[in-house]
Symmetry: C2
Subunit: 348 residues, 2 copies
């Protein structure tokens, strides 16, 4: 997979919406890794511009992200969720929103996004929360674009293989950010990266890219020894100066708070792991109502965070981080990739 | 640690009460690993006999296990728990017990157990659920016995190091059987093996033994890459003919059911991971009351299982297994150790 694409090292800088930037993706790519953009939270024109900006830095190997199925709207549930958040809106001196919306669109059935990707031809398009239609996949393949998708269990990986995805990202329970589960109503076995990788390399013919808790080259080497074709690191890149993480996110990642993460559905409506803060503590409290659907819940959290930010309060932000967050290092992406390569004793 | 003890390979066959046997510990030791007995569920005379039986097979390197603090008894809570289990007792045609008891004693303050260990001098004594008193630790050290103890987070590991334990077993969330948390009321970060090992090797000067989800030599090699001094495997040894696992346990481990484990407090009163069965499904059901304390809850579950077993029903047994259970292999312990050594490319 990596060799075919002319990528020197089996290292993926994870696509992270709101954190990845063209500068980060380009720096990681220039250093020999697979740099990525997260475009799930972007409009098609924004995504196109990010891809072009990355290319301006170099002929980078951008990756993209899929958004999940269209939200199931439920007015009563959304209203109950806003009532649950009312006390924290009051804390930041803001009335709760009267309505919240589906702020992101799914890639599924989004012909405009597909067309843009085919025109821009990134080396790889990566999917999260599920997989594209057979037609979309065929169109990407015809355009010479490789595909990757996240799996959190063997069932999802089998579906990806059946569909013809080129590589599977084995996302362990340690991973920061959104968990790529296809069906959030199914029981989640919450497999760790190391278990999931070992199970998948035995089940699947696809290259397996290990993700979750990998923060350094020792973790990359371990993933390769487990049979992975490569390793994807997200949290490890957040402190790079090229990322768009804000000062509070950076400060928390460098503090003792980095050791306390939680997998929570309350921030966005889908399970995601981040640093525990006032939002999560309030939202997760016993007796909470059902959480509004993704990404409608995310709209509520983002509006709350925006109101809090005006007061200089960042306790309501989504600061995604994996369990390995205390191991994050602050250095330019190129230096980080070089450090990973040296630690993992990778040969280019 | 391993070299000092004359143990050829950095592999620990985990102590597993109810599964480990003198034959298993001796076979693992004879093959160059550190074989272990689990004596937490045994009386002192039973434990002494197990150690002597193992020694009869060879000068093995037995390990032992500590039991946790004395149970906090609560008659109302225990009665409520028995009422919750009444329907499943009815399913197996048995009245629920009128009382349940603290069936195991803690090692803490158990002078008789300490004296037995000092007399029998196993190479290593390993603690779970906490650590022994300073006096007990000093007595073991004076007798030339090395000590190990489980940690599930950095705080517990720091306490072990401070106390003078010789090596820490980093138990990841994947692990089968009882989770070694010291304080079950504290929030559990549920760190995976790979994250916990990486964090601990940086924090601690002690040798770190990786545990959780390691099922083969590839996993052992990965643990060593992460900086561990060795790896402890439990579930991997359950199918060995030398273990005392019964036919149902073996059949489930070899079936698709092995892929569905749950970390549950309902079986024993302490969090432990096992194959999901009728007991766990019933006991975990929404609206359940507070679970009786460890090991009082275990008494209830064991009485239920005994009644069910008379009907040939094994759906109420504690069949501990880690997330990696689908990777368990059925072979004699000596062959398994040799296979692990070859896969991990270990040099003796």
């Amino acid at each position: 997979m990596f060799q075919d694409l002319g990528i020197r090292y089996p290292i993926v800088q994870a696509p992270m919406a709101g954190v990845s930037t063209p500068a980060l993706a380009a720096a990681a790519s220039n250093a020999g890794a697979l740099g990525s953009l997260g475009i799930g939270a972007s409009t098609v024109p924004q995504a196109r511009k990010m891809i072009q900006d990355t290319r301006a830095h170099r002929q980078a190997n951008q990756r993209e992200r899929l958004l999940p199925r269209t939200a199931v709207r439920d007015a009563a549930r959304e209203a109950a969720w806003l009532r649950h958040l009312a006390p924290v809106f009051a804390e930041v001196g803001s009335p709760p929103p009267t309505e919240i919306d589906e702020i992101y669109r799914t890639f599924l059935g989004d012909d405009e996004a597909l067309q843009m990707l085919i025109e821009e031809r990134p080396a790889v398009v990566s999917f999260h929360f599920g997989m594209p239609s057979a037609d979309a996949l065929a169109a990407l393949r015809k355009a010479g674009i490789k595909t990757m998708a996240s799996a959190t269990n063997l069932r999802e990986a089998a579906a990806l293989e059946e569909a013809g995805i080129d590589a599977v990202v084995a996302q362990g329970i340690e991973a920061g950010g959104h968990r790529g589960v296809f069906d959030t109503d199914a029981i989640d076995e919450r497999l760790s990266m190391s278990v999931l990788v070992r199970l998948l390399v035995r089940q699947s013919k696809l290259p397996v890219i290990a993700a979750g808790g990998i923060m350094d080259g020792f973790g990359i080497r371990a993933a390769l020894d487990l049979g992975a074709a490569g390793a994807q690191l997200g949290t490890a890149f957040v402190l790079c100066p090229e990322s768009s993480a804000d000062a509070s996110y950076r400060a928390n990642l460098k503090s003792a708070r980095a050791a306390v993460t939680r997998l929570t559905t309350t921030l966005s409506g889908r399970p995601a792991r981040g640093i525990v803060n006032r939002f999560i503590e309030h939202a997760e409290a016993a007796g909470r109502p059902d959480i509004a659907a993704y990404p409608v819940a995310y709209d509520a959290a983002k509006q709350l965070n925006a109101a809090a930010a005006k007061l200089g309060n960042s306790e309501f932000a989504a600061q995604w981080a994996g369990q390995g967050a205390p191991l994050a290092r602050e250095m330019p992406a190129a230096d980080l990739v070089a450090t990973l390569v040296a630690e993992a004793k990778l040969e280019g």
